[in-house]
C-alpha cells in the first residue's frame, strides 16, 4: 500500500428540502411490524475506501461521482474516527467481509476514469434517528427488517467508521490427505457428516474400495470432487436409482417414465434432450429454443434475496452453457411460501417470516433479471403452511440458439479457460447443502453456502460469450454452478476424457484461499470454456474488450484422469471412469400413502340462504351493508369473493410490475392484460426474432393442494393446466414440449417416495396422451425442515412448464372479455370431485377425490381450441383452474371491464354435480371462451367432438350475474370482484392509496 494512502469514509444523505423516500419506506415497513419510530429519520449511504491523495482526492470522488448535487448532501471522515452526528443515534448495516458488494465495483470504475487511485472499497447503508430513540427497538429493527445476519452485520452507534476491506493473510499451503482406507463404517459416516459430503454408507464404502484398489489415501479435494459430482443435486440418485414400490422393483424412474415418453414420442422438433444444460427444440429454420427450469430452494430459505437472485443467475448460465451458448430471452419464476398472514409467533426458530421471504425473493429475482435485461414473463405463487421452513424458488430460462451452434466437442489439447467473476470463499458446499435437510441451525452453519450475485458481472460475461460464440472461438462451454470448478471441469473433461488444472492460475477475489476452496467455491458469474490453442489470443481479446477477466487454467487431455496441481505440487489425480461411473446405485423403498379424505358436508356446501358473515352478524351495520353490496347478499357471492382473495388465486400484480417483462421488445401477450392491465394472463407470448411473426408461448401448471390427495392425478392436472395455458394464448399443442421440476419432501421416507413414483407414472401417461415430450427437468428431493426433533415435509410439489410454438403472433389471444353482446361458451366437462380444490379448503376439508383427467378427450379439446384461435374465432379465452368456473368468469369480466351473464344449469357435466360444484369444482380440461354471435356456428362445427355449451352472453352492465335456470345465484359488481382479487397481495397498498389510485 502506498504511503500516501488514507482510509476515508464518504457518506451521502438526502438534502433537507428533498423527500427522503428510503427513510419513508423504513417508517412504513416498521409500522407494519408494529414498531413505532420517531419522526425525523434520515437515510444515508456510505463507502469506505483506501485512496491516494488524502481528503482532496476523496472529495473529488464524492463530488464528481457519488454525490448527486440536486439530491444529496455529502460528508467525509477518516474511517478511524466516530461517524456520529450531533444529537442523533445511528444504525448501520454493512455486508460481512468477502460478501459480494456490487457498488464497490462501480466506485472503482469511476475512480479509474477520474484518475484516482482507489482500492478496498466497502459500502454500507445507515439510518440516523433523533437522540433518545429506543435502542432496543433499533436493534430489533436492524435484525428483524434491515439486515440478514447470514451476510450482514448491524452496528448501533459504533465508535469508529467502517474500515475498508483488506486482503486476508495467505494460508500456508499444506496438502491434506484423508485417512480412509482403514476407517470403520462408523468412521466413514462421521467423515461424511463432518466433511459435509452428504454421501451415504454404501457410497462411502465404494469410495473406500476405490482408494484401496489404488493403494493410497485420497486428498481432501479428491473426496470433495467425488462428493460434489455424486450429490443428489448433480446425479439425481433417487430418480435414477432402484425403487421397491408396492411389490415391484422400479429401475430408474427417470428413464422408465419421463425420458421414456420423450424417447417413444420421438418428435422431430426435439433437438437435444436430457443431455445438455437445457432442453433444445426447433423454433424456425435458423434458430432453436432452449429451456431449463432450476430450483434454488435451500439458499433462498437462508438468504431470500441472494438465494433467489443467484437462482436466476444460475439458470441463465445454464442457457449460456447450452450448445455453444444460447442467448437468454425470457425468464419464468414460480415460488411457494408460507401463508402471508402467518402470526409472528408461529414462525419456527431459525426461519424468516413468509412475507419477508417473499419480499426478499421477489427483490432478488427483480434486481438480477432486470439488470441482466431479460424479461421475466411468466410464473405462479403458491402458499401453504408447510413451506414456512422450506420455501421453494423455481427459476426458468428460455434461450435462442443459432441452429448451427448446437453441438459441443471438447478435444484433447483444448485449453481450459475460466471467465467472469473472480473466485472467493462464497457458496462453498452448495451442491451437498442442497441435498440435505434444513434445520434450525442452518442459518448459522451454512452461511458459507450463501451466494450473493452481481448481475452486471454476468451481463458482461454474456455479452462477451455471445461475441466469441459467433466468431467460433471455442469448442465447448459450461457454467460453473453447484460444485464450482470441480463440477464444470469434471463434466467437460468427460468429453475429452481427462483434464489437468493449475489451481494457482485461478483469479481470486482476495488472498488466503486454500486450493480446496478454489476448486469447490461456488462463486457466481463464472463459466468454463474449451478453447483450441490457436484461438487463445483472439478469445482473450474479446473478453478483455468487454472488461471480463478470462484466464487459461489448464488443458483438457485424453489421460482418463482428472488432475490438478497447486504451487507445483500434485493435489488431485482421479480416475474419470470412477468419478462418472463409480457411483453405486441406491435401492429405496416406497409405499403408497394412506390418506383420510372427505368432501365438505352438504350443509357446508349449501349456497341457499344468507352469507355466513351476515348470519354471524358481528360487524357494524355499515360494514355489513358494504359487504352485502360487494357480494350481492348471497352465500355464493361471498364464497366467490373469498376465493378471489385467496392468496393462491389473488392477483400477483405486486410482483409482476417489479419485473421488467418487456425488455428485448418481444412482448406480444403480457402477464397482465385488459384495459386496466389487471387480468391474469394464462401465459406469455414472445416474438423473439424482430420482424418475424413466429412466436412462442410459455406457461406453467402447479397445484400442490392436489398432491396431498392424489399425487398421480396432481401430476396429470399440472400437465393439463400448463398445456391449457399455452393453448389459451395461441400456442399450438402439436408443437409443444414440457419440463418437469419435482420439489419433494425427504424421499428416504417411503410415503414421500411413493408419492414420487405415482407422479412419475402420471408424467409418462400424460406426456404420451398429449404427445408432448419432456425436454428437461430437475428434482429437489430433500425439502424437509427439522425443528425441535420433528421433521416436516413440504407437500409434493410438481411444476410443469410448457413451451409452445405460436405460428402467427397476430392470432394470439388474451383472457379479457372484449365487449358486450358476445356469446360465451364453456368447453369441457364438469364433474363432482372436490379433492384438493379451493372450495374444499375454504370449507376446511381436503376433498375426497381429485378430478380425473380424461386423456382421450383432453388432447382433442386442446387441438379444437387451437384451431379456433388460429382462425381468429375466439375473442377471449381463459382456462378454468383454481376456483373453477365462477373464478374464471369473474377474472374475464373484470379484466375486460365487460359484464357477463351466465346460466350454469345447462353445461356439460358428469356425475350430476350440484350447484356449488358446477360453480367452483376444479375439473380438468375446461375453457371459457367468447365468440361473436355471427361466428358461433363456425365455432360449433370446429368443436364437434368436444363437449361444449353456450352458457351466456357478455353485457353492457358492469356486473357478473350467475343464474341456475331461473334461480338467481349471485350478482356482483365488477369493481368488487376486482378489489377482492387485488387486495390480498398488494404489499404497497398504502402507497397506492396515498397517491390516489
Amino acid at each position: 500500500m502506498d504511503s500516501d494512502t488514507t482510509s476515508v469514509c464518504i457518506e451521502i444523505g438526502i438534502r433537507p428540502e428533498r423527500k427522503d423516500v428510503v427513510a419513508a419506506r423504513l417508517l412504513r415497513q416498521a409500522a407494519e411490524l408494529g414498531m413505532a419510530l420517531p419522526d425525523g429519520v434520515q437515510s444515508r449511504r456510505g463507502w469506505s475506501l483506501h485512496v491516494v491523495g488524502g481528503a482532496a482526492a476523496a472529495r473529488t470522488l464524492a463530488e464528481r461521482f457519488l454525490c448527486d448535487p440536486v439530491m444529496n448532501t455529502v460528508r467525509l471522515f477518516p474511517s478511524g474516527s466516530s461517524p456520529a452526528e450531533p444529537d442523533t443515534t445511528r444504525l448501520e448495516v454493512v455486508r460481512l467481509p468477502g460478501v459480494m458488494d456490487p457498488s464497490a465495483q462501480s466506485v472503482l470504475r469511476a475512480a479509474k476514469r477520474l484518475s484516482l487511485q482507489v482500492s478496498d472499497v466497502r459500502s454500507w447503508q445507515a439510518f440516523v434517528f433523533p437522540a433518545g430513540t429506543d435502542k432496543a427497538l433499533l436493534a430489533r429493527l436492524g435484525s428483524g427488517l434491515l439486515a440478514n445476519l447470514a451476510i450482514e452485520e448491524v452496528r448501533l452507534d459504533p465508535a469508529t467508521g467502517i474500515a475498508p476491506v483488506a486482503d486476508l493473510p495467505d494460508a500456508p499451503f499444506r496438502l491434506q490427505h484423508v485417512p480412509l482406507r482403514e476407517a470403520s463404517a462408523a468412521e466413514l459416516s462421521r467423515l461424511s457428516t463432518e466433511g459435509c459430503l452428504a454421501l451415504d454408507a454404501t457410497e462411502m464404502a465404494a469410495v473406500q474400495g476405490h482408494f484401496r484398489s489404488e493403494a493410497r489415501e485420497p486428498t481432501d479435494i479428491e473426496l470433495e470432487t467425488l462428493a460434489q459430482t455424486w450429490s443428489e443435486h448433480c446425479k439425481h440418485k433417487t430418480l435414477t436409482g432402484l425403487v421397491q414400490y408396492e411389490g415391484t422393483l422400479r429401475d430408474n424412474l427417470l428413464k422408465s417414465t419421463i425420458a421414456r415418453a420423450t424417447h417413444e414420442l420421438n418428435r422431430p422438433f426435439c433437438k437435444s434432450v436430457f443431455v445438455d444444460n437445457a432442453g433444445v427444440v426447433a423454433f424456425d429454420d435458423t434458430h432453436h429454443l432452449t429451456f431449463k427450469v432450476e430450483t434454488h430452494n435451500h439458499p433462498s430459505a437462508i438468504e431470500p434475496y441472494g438465494g433467489a437472485g443467484t437462482g436466476l443467475g444460475g439458470v441463465l448460465r445454464d442457457t449460456l452453457g447450452t450448445g455453444l451458448g444460447a442467448r437468454p430471452i425470457a425468464s419464468t419464476d414460480v415460488f411457494c411460501f408460507g401463508p402471508p398472514d402467518l402470526p409472528a409467533s408461529k414462525v419456527p426458530k431459525g426461519s424468516l417470516h413468509p412475507l419477508r421471504v417473499m419480499k426478499g425473493v421477489v427483490s432478488g429475482v427483480r434486481d438480477y433479471g432486470n439488470r441482466m435485461g431479460i424479461p421475466t414473463v411468466n410464473g405462479a405463487v403458491c402458499f401453504d403452511p408447510r413451506y414456512v421452513g422450506n420455501p421453494l424458488v423455481y427459476c426458468g430460462s428460455i434461450g435462442l440458439l443459432p441452429a448451427n451452434r448446437l453441438h459441443k466437442e471438447v478435444r484433447p489439447g483444448d485449453l481450459i479457460v475460466v471467465a467472469g467473476g473472480r473466485t472467493g470463499r462464497d457458496g462453498i458446499h452448495g451442491a451437498t447443502f442442497s441435498s440435505q435437510e434444513l434445520h434450525e441451525e442452518s442459518e448459522t452453519v451454512s452461511s458459507g453456502a450463501v451466494q450473493i450475485g452481481n448481475a452486471i458481472e454476468e451481463k458482461k460475461l454474456m455479452d462477451a460469450l455471445l461475441i466469441a460464440r459467433d466468431l467460433g472461438l471455442y469448442r465447448g462451454v459450461t457454467d460453473c454452478g453447484a460444485g464450482g470448478l470441480s463440477s464444470a471441469v469434471g463434466e467437460m473433461g468427460e468429453g475429452s476424457h481427462g483434464a489437468h488444472v493449475l489451481l494457482d492460475r485461478v483469479p481470486l477475489k482476495y488472498h488466503g484461499l486454500t486450493y480446496r476452496e478454489i476448486w469447490i467455491s461456488e462463486a457466481q458469474e463464472r463459466m468454463v470454456f474449451a478453447v483450441p490453442p490457436e484461438h487463445e489470443r483472439a478469445l482473450l481479446a474479446v473478453f478483455a474488450a468487454e472488461d471480463v477477466e478470462a484466464t487459461v487454467i489448464g488443458t483438457f487431455n485424453g489421460s482418463g484422469r482428472l488432475t490438478a496441481e497447486f504451487a507445483g505440487t500434485p493435489v488431485m489425480d482421479l480416475s474419470m471412469d470412477f468419478l462418472h461411473k463409480g457411483l453405486p446405485r441406491r435401492t429405496r423403498t416406497a409405499v403408497k400413502r394412506k390418506r383420510t379424505l372427505a368432501d365438505p358436508t352438504p350443509a357446508q356446501l349449501a349456497l341457499t340462504g344468507p352469507p355466513h358473515a351476515a348470519a354471524q352478524s358481528s360487524g357494524t351495520q355499515s360494514a355489513g351493508t358494504q359487504a352485502a353490496a360487494a357480494h350481492g347478499g348471497t352465500r355464493a357471492g361471498e364464497l366467490l369473493l373469498s376465493l378471489l382473495a385467496a392468496p393462491n388465486i389473488a392477483s400477483k400484480e405486486w410482483i409482476i410490475r417489479q419485473y421488467d417483462h418487456e425488455v428485448l421488445a418481444g412482448s406480444v401477450v403480457k402477464p397482465l392484460t385488459g384495459p386496466r392491465r389487471d387480468g391474469p394472463s394464462d401465459g406469455a407470448v414472445i416474438a423473439p426474432v424482430p420482424g418475424s411473426r413466429r412466436g412462442f408461448a410459455v406457461a406453467c401448471g402447479i397445484n400442490p393442494c392436489l398432491g396431498d390427495v392424489d399425487p398421480y392425478r396432481m401430476a396429470l392436472h399440472a400437465i393439463d393446466e400448463a398445456l391449457r395455458n399455452v393453448v389459451a394464448v395461441g400456442g399450438d399443442p402439436e408443437q409443444t414440449s414440457i419440463l418437469d421440476n419435482f420439489s419433494w419432501g425427504n424421499c428416504e421416507r417411503p410415503e414421500n417416495l411413493g408419492d414420487l413414483v405415482q407422479a412419475c407414472d402420471a408424467c409418462y401417461d400424460g406426456a404420451m396422451a398429449f404427445r408432448t415430450p419432456f425436454i428437461s427437468g430437475k428434482d429437489s428431493l430433500n425439502n424437509d425442515y427439522r425443528e425441535g426433533g420433528v421433521s416436516l415435509s413440504i407437500p409434493p410439489t410438481l411444476l410443469i412448464t410448457a413451451l409452445a410454438i405460436v405460428p402467427d403472433i397476430g392470432r394470439a389471444c388474451t383472457m379479457d372479455l372484449k365487449g358486450p353482446g358476445h356469446d360465451v361458451l364453456i368447453l369441457g366437462i364438469t364433474g363432482p370431485e372436490l379433492g384438493g380444490s379451493h372450495l374444499a379448503h375454504a370449507l376446511g376439508a381436503s376433498g375426497a377425490e381429485v378430478p380425473p383427467v380424461d386423456l382421450v378427450l383432453a388432447p382433442k379439446l386442446l387441438r379444437a381450441v387451437h384451431a379456433a384461435i388460429a382462425r381468429g374465432l375466439l375473442l377471449s379465452c381463459h382456462d378454468l383452474s383454481e376456483g373453477g368456473l365462477a373464478v374464471a368468469a369473474a377474472e374475464m369480466a373484470f379484466a375486460g371491464g365487460v359484464g357477463l351473464s351466465l346460466d350454469v344449469a345447462a353445461m356439460p357435466v358428469r356425475g350430476a354435480p350440484d350447484l356449488p360444484r358446477r360453480l367452483f369444482a376444479e375439473s380438468a380440461s375446461r375453457f371459457l371462451v367468447e365468440v361473436a354471435p355471427e361466428r358461433r356456428e363456425e365455432l360449433h362445427k370446429l368443436l364437434a367432438d368436444v363437449p361444449h355449451t353456450l352458457i351466456g352472453r357478455t353485457t353492457a352492465e358492469s356486473v357478473l350475474d350467475l343464474r341456475d335456470g331461473s334461480t338467481p345465484v349471485l350478482r356482483c359488481e365488477l369493481a368488487a370482484l376486482r378489489e377482492a382479487h387485488q387486495r390480498t397481495l398488494d404489499l404497497d397498498r398504502e402507497h397506492a392509496a396515498e397517491r390516489g389510485r
Binding site: R18, V21, V22, A24, F65, L66, D68, P69, V70, M71, P102, S103, Q105, S106, V107, R109, A110, R113, L114, R366, N370, R371, M372, G373, N454, A455, I456, K459, K460, E546, I656, R657, Q658, D660, H661, E662, V663, L664, A665, S667, V668, L672, T673, R677, P690, G810, R811, A812, C813, T814, D816, K818, G872, L875, S876, D988, H991, R995, G996, R997
Partner: protein
C-alpha cells in the same frame, strides 16, 4: 440520393436495450451500430462519423452508486469535448431511460446554461420506491424537438426505479417551462398532466417524462419507445377491432425513430 442515417448506439456493461434500440432505427432505414464505450474511449473520433447518438436503457455498470452515474462520469471526463462538438455540429442525441439518467447527470439535459457539467435536475428514486414496468399515457407539451415532429400523443411503457424528475430549485423549474424544454408529460385518461399514481408512475415533478435541450436535437425520456415499435407491443392490441383483432404494423413509439431518420435525410 439522400444519406443513410448512421446511428451509434452506445453500450456499456449493463446496457440492455441496445439491440432493441438499434433495431428500431434500422426499421426506418438507418444503419445502426452498437458500440462499447471502451471502443469510443479508445477512439473518440468515431462519434463524429455518425448522425445520431443513442444512449439506450439498462443498468450501465449496475447503477449501484446512482443511476447513470458511472456512464456520465465516463462521458463527462474523456468524451466531454467530442460530445459538445457532436451536438454543436448538428448531431442528434436520444437518451432512453438509463440513457436519459446519464444525460441528466452529465448536464447535457436540460442544459440550461452550460451544455455539460452542470446538473440542473435529478432523476430520483420513484415515489413508490420500487422498480415498476407499466404502460403510461403521455401528453406532448412541446414540438420543438426534432424527434417528436407531428406524432400523436403516445402510450409507452416505462420500466424503471429512478425516474422522478426533481429540478434543482424553483428557478430551474420555471425555466424548464419558460424555455420550452418539457417534451413529454405523464397524463391521465383525459389527456391532462397528472401527479396521480400510477398514471404518473414515479411522482415526477410537473409530471415531466421527457426533456429536450436548447437546440431541440437532444431528447431524453424515461419511457421506452423501442418497446412500442410494433402494433403487437401495445397491451390492448387484442382489443382493437380495426383488423379483426390483428395488430397494427407499427406501434406508438415508432414515430420517434422515423422522425429522427427523416430529419437526418432532410437536413444532412
Amino acid at each position: 440520393m439522400s444519406v443513410t442515417p448512421s446511428v451509434l448506439v452506445l453500450r456499456a456493461a449493463g446496457t440492455n436495450c441496445d439491440a432493441d434500440t438499434a433495431h428500431a432505427f434500422e426499421r426506418f432505414g438507418a444503419r445502426a451500430t452498437a458500440l462499447h464505450v471502451n471502443r469510443l474511449l479508445a477512439e473518440p473520433a468515431l462519434l463524429a462519423r455518425h448522425h445520431v447518438l443513442a444512449l439506450p436503457g439498462g443498468f450501465a455498470y449496475g447503477d449501484d452508486a446512482g443511476a447513470g452515474a458511472v456512464l456520465a462520469c465516463e462521458l463527462g471526463s474523456a468524451l466531454a469535448q467530442p460530445l459538445k462538438d457532436f451536438v454543436a455540429g448538428g448531431g442528434l442525441v436520444i437518451g432512453i431511460c438509463n440513457g436519459f439518467q446519464a444525460l441528466v447527470r452529465l448536464g447535457l439535459l436540460p442544459g440550461l446554461d452550460a451544455p455539460l457539467g452542470v446538473q440542473d435536475v435529478s432523476l430520483a428514486d420513484n415515489d413508490s420506491l420500487k422498480y415498476e414496468d407499466r404502460w403510461v399515457r403521455l401528453a406532448i407539451t412541446s414540438r420543438r424537438c426534432v424527434f417528436v415532429g407531428d406524432m400523436p400523443a403516445p402510450e409507452l411503457p416505462v420500466a424503471h426505479g429512478e425516474g422522478r424528475i426533481v429540478p434543482r430549485d424553483a428557478e430551474v423549474a420555471r425555466r424548464l417551462v419558460a424555455e420550452d424544454r418539457v417534451v413529454f408529460r405523464y397524463c391521465g385518461a383525459d389527456g391532462r398532466p397528472t401527479q396521480d399514481y400510477p398514471a404518473n408512475p414515479n411522482g415526477s415533478e410537473d409530471a415531466i417524462a421527457g426533456l429536450t435541450d436548447a437546440t431541440g436535437r437532444v431528447l431524453g425520456l424515461m419511457p421506452h419507445p423501442e418497446r412500442a415499435l410494433f402494433g403487437y407491443h401495445h397491451p390492448d392490441w387484442t382489443r382493437a377491432t380495426r383488423h379483426g383483432g390483428a395488430p397494427d404494423d407499427l406501434g406508438p413509439g415508432a414515430p420517434l425513430f422515423a422522425n429522427a431518420c427523416d430529419w437526418v435525410r432532410n437536413n444532412r
